[in-house]
Symmetry: C2
């Protein structure tokens, strides 16, 4: 006979999500989570650095997928095209089967500021990492950070939409729409998929922007 049931970490994660969903995050103690799967509080904290982390552990691979997407982009791609690649690559982590689970998890997070803070922190870490990958492609600052943060923003908005009740489109499709909307916003629209103006003024005011003569870009500001 085995001394310990295997997969302690996964069992703790599942139990935690379940308890958080039913009782609420703050009303659930770490000791309760541990007990519910036959472990002790001490063991819980050996697996997770803190109580919130039980909901966030394992995003390493997601982050890696994002970075892989960056690295897989063609060498002559513009920063935003690189981001588009990364977004598509990352979306592979969220097949439609996972939608219900993601929805449940997110509803727990949405109900607790402490969890929201952790989520934002993770997303910021993603942006930082992606910015690093962009640096490695020779992209400077602040372009790299700007592009990375924009990517994170697009992902966040697209994910939130993907989760929304009644939404049928796949995550990559939504990502693509949101990214195009971003280009729309800033006055440049591109290529294949065109986004319908999502609501009222979305496309109206935007479209009357004078477009920038993509002039000879010289004379950088001193800061960099």
């Amino acid at each position: 006979m085995v001394r310990w049931e295997p997969g302690a970490k996964e069992r703790l994660q599942a139990a935690a999500l379940e308890l958080f969903a039913t009782r609420g995050f703050e009303q659930t103690t770490a000791a309760e989570i541990a007990q519910s799967v036959g472990l002790t509080e001490r063991t819980f904290f050996r697996h997770f650095s803190d109580k919130r982390e039980v909901l966030f552990y394992g995003q390493q691979q997601f982050l890696q997928a994002f970075v892989d997407g960056v690295d897989a982009a063609p060498p002559d791609a513009s920063p935003l095209e690189v981001i588009a690649c990364a977004l598509q690559a990352a979306a592979s982590f969220f097949p439609d089967e996972r939608r219900a689970y993601s929805r449940m998890r997110q509803s727990v997070i949405d109900q607790n500021p402490a969890l929201q803070e952790r989520e934002l922190h993770k997303l910021a870490g993603l942006a930082t990492t992606v910015a690093g990958a962009l640096h490695a492609r020779g992209i400077g600052e602040p372009a790299a950070t700007l592009a990375a943060e924009s990517g994170a923003t697009v992902f966040g908005i697209a994910f939130a939409q993907w989760i929304r009740e009644g939404e049928r489109r796949s995550l990559p499709d939504i990502e693509s729409d949101v990214l195009h909307e971003l280009l729309n916003l800033t006055g440049a629209a591109t290529g294949t998929r065109r986004t319908a103006p999502s609501r009222v003024a979305a496309g109206s005011r935007i479209s009357d922007r004078r477009a920038p003569a993509a002039g000879p870009p010289e004379a950088a500001p001193p800061g960099r």
Copy 2:
């Protein structure tokens, strides 16, 4: 004689920053902060909902300035022009005299993940509020959120640069540069201040996007 020294909250804030800077955030207990200004731990927590909040309390006015900037934008301004207005309005909270203080405060935050989380949460709250203000102008989703998040990103990057040792430009100037860099990135650059492509690919692929029918190089963003 008075029973209590006035300005308990401000005294706590000042003492906290001082102690955090010297001993570190985690090495400083709430009780110590309180004692250092002749108060008790209990009183500390009556003024601040949690230990981190002592560094963030009072940003209400900053947020309000941002929103006021949105509301003050001309009615026919594009979302990004509105954001430009808001950025300029918000910058009034950070005159050059405040740079040293901001730098110190930020160095404390940068050294502690818990504080970074709170900062990100506040910034996200800003974006949410601004998105609401954009809705009120008739801008739909996801344009409003996209614009608001972009504004928050630009502010964050600009602020970080403003704080940087050796930086001399004013915050509004940096904001303007970063915002233009964002437009550059997405292929649209506008009006007056042109930013050089930050490095290699910045302008390459982008420039072959079908340029949105270029208008006269008129109308600089109203923000400045």
